[in-house]
């Protein structure tokens, strides 16, 4: 064999070897490389209503030199065909499939993103409680499927307040009311609110209004026997001053109250609590997700109402007579408007 031919073969083999070595050792996967958008999917199943929605957007790279710059519309939507469907699972297999269709009717959230261009998909079905659902967002042209799993919690049980004739909520200053409920399986976050309904008479015209006092969200990922949230009388009175507008000459009467308890899935609890987030790629984006091949949240939200609640006599009288709230014009339990009576 001639020497130059041998050299050429050795050089060629060495070159191929180096190429193979270099390519084989490259284990960097650029998941969020510049120009590679990630689907952003939001879906909160609600077992109390018959319409379920999935919101679909896509990530974009903000301009680091201009952080206030809003993204152009095209950079936040998917123009390729998308198939969105939800499976209901029982005994470890799908038993029902719901195909979601694009809709444009409901008003979408405004804010940073151009609201007209966020894609919204809808299906008409009522999710069953204590049941597992799988979400799929399929991009056929891109060979990509975003998927997620969530479990709808069981029906919540509220201990206090109860709608009982004669039982009242006392929120006079110095007292506090404890809202109590049973934590359900797969529930991670709770938020309660008290809505006070009142009628107002001004210049002979009567109207009905409401004041909504919201409590802070509570995380409940543990195995507590009972969950509770406390509203103090001071806080109630301060909120009433903030929420009920002063109108000169208005006479107001408290009609009744409604307690509302929002319960959301564990996924939302993980999202709002950075301490509870597990290590994942999404943490690099400072964003929790329970989706595969995308970011966002697939979880559930449900609401329980307790209606026809009454405020105690002491609370009504304090609203009517205390230094803090008497200017609001609420009548006491005997129907006396002390504020306007004194003016006369």
């Amino acid at each position: 064999m001639p020497l130059p031919a041998l050299n050429l073969r050795i050089i060629f083999s060495a070159f191929v070897g180096v190429l193979l070595f270099l390519s084989a050792c490259s284990n960097d996967i650029e998941v969020n490389a510049i120009g590679d958008p990630v689907p952003v999917v939001w879906c909160l199943l609600n077992p109390d209503v018959n319409e379920q929605y999935v919101r679909l957007g896509r990530s974009f790279i903000p301009d680091p030199n201009n952080p206030d710059y809003n993204p152009v519309a095209d950079s936040t939507i998917w123009t390729m065909p998308v198939s969105v469907y939800i499976e209901e699972w029982k005994d470890d297999r799908p038993v029902r499939v719901f195909q979601l269709q694009p809709v444009t009717d409901p008003p979408k959230d405004s804010g940073f993103f151009p609201n007209d261009n966020l894609r919204l998909y809808k299906a008409e079905f009522k999710p069953a409680r204590s049941t597992t659902y799988h979400l799929y967002v399929h991009f056929p042209d891109d060979y990509r499927i975003v998927s997620g799993i969530t479990r709808i919690p069981g029906r919540p049980v509220i201990y206090d307040p109860l709608e009982l004739p004669g039982r009242k909520i006392n929120l006079q200053s110095g007292m506090q009311y404890k809202f109590r409920w049973a934590p359900g399986e797969s529930i991670g976050v709770y938020q309660s609110q008290l809505i006070v309904f009142y009628s107002e008479t001004l210049n002979g015209q009567s109207s009905d209004y409401q004041a909504c006092i919201k409590m802070n969200p509570l995380l409940g990922l543990g195995s507590e026997i009972e969950m509770s949230d406390v509203m103090s009388g001071y806080s109630f009175m301060a909120n009433m001053i903030k929420l009920v507008p002063f109108r000169d000459g208005a006479e107001r009467t408290v009609t009744n109250c409604r307690f509302q308890l929002f319960k959301a899935g564990e996924e939302l609890a993980l999202m709002i609590s950075p301490d509870l987030q597990q290590t994942s790629i999404s943490n690099n984006l400072n964003q929790y997700t329970n989706l595969v091949n995308g970011i966002g949240v697939f979880s559930s939200l449900q609401l329980t109402n307790v209606n026809n609640l009454q405020l105690s006599n002491t609370t009504i009288n304090e609203l009517a007579t205390s230094e803090l709230t008497r200017t609001l014009g609420f009548k006491d339990i005997h129907g006396t408007d002390l504020n306007n009576a004194n003016d006369e």
């Binding site: 201990y159 206090d160 109860l162 004739p165 004669g166 039982r167 006392n170 006079q172 506090q176």
Partner: protein, 145 residues
């Protein structure tokens, strides 16, 4: 040198005394001492109906029987099915209380436990208490059978 040590020791003593965290500046203790406490023991008593069908609905205190009758209460407890005792810190004096329970059992079950009118009927009890300064009064609430 000795003078310097004396000054240092005096300074240290002064700092230690002035930083004594046990100094009571809060006047709450004084206020509480001027008050008395009443603890209501409010059990659910049922004979002919399940206890889960009876609910506490009211425990209120007034300064006079007239105020009690008119509903002009001084204090009301946030009664619950899960809480048995209720305590109030009050100025010394005579007070009048009322307590009520209702029945939510179906059919005519509530009539068997003497709830007037049956379901959602209310049993009431009332009485007088005397709160004494610095003392705790324990009051058991009972209803007619």
């Amino acid at each position: 040198m000795n003078n310097l040590i004396k000054y240092l020791l005096a300074g240290l003593l002064f700092v230690m005394i002035s930083c004594n965290p046990d100094n009571k500046t809060d006047t709450d203790d004084v206020t509480i001492d001027q008050k008395g406490t009443v603890v209501f023991n409010f059990p659910i008593q049922s004979i002919n109906v399940p206890a889960s069908g009876i609910h506490r609905i009211d425990l209120s205190l007034a300064k006079s029987t007239y105020d009690l009758y008119r509903g002009d209460f001084l204090l009301s407890a946030n009664v619950s099915d899960n809480v048995k005792t209720y305590s109030f810190n009050m100025d010394p004096g005579d007070y009048y209380y009322q307590a009520g329970v209702t029945c939510t059992c179906l059919g005519d079950t509530c009539l068997w436990d003497s709830f007037p009118g049956g379901r959602f009927g209310v049993k009431w009890t009332m009485g007088q208490i005397t709160v004494t300064k610095g003392e705790t009064l324990i009051k058991d609430i009972t209803f007619n059978k």
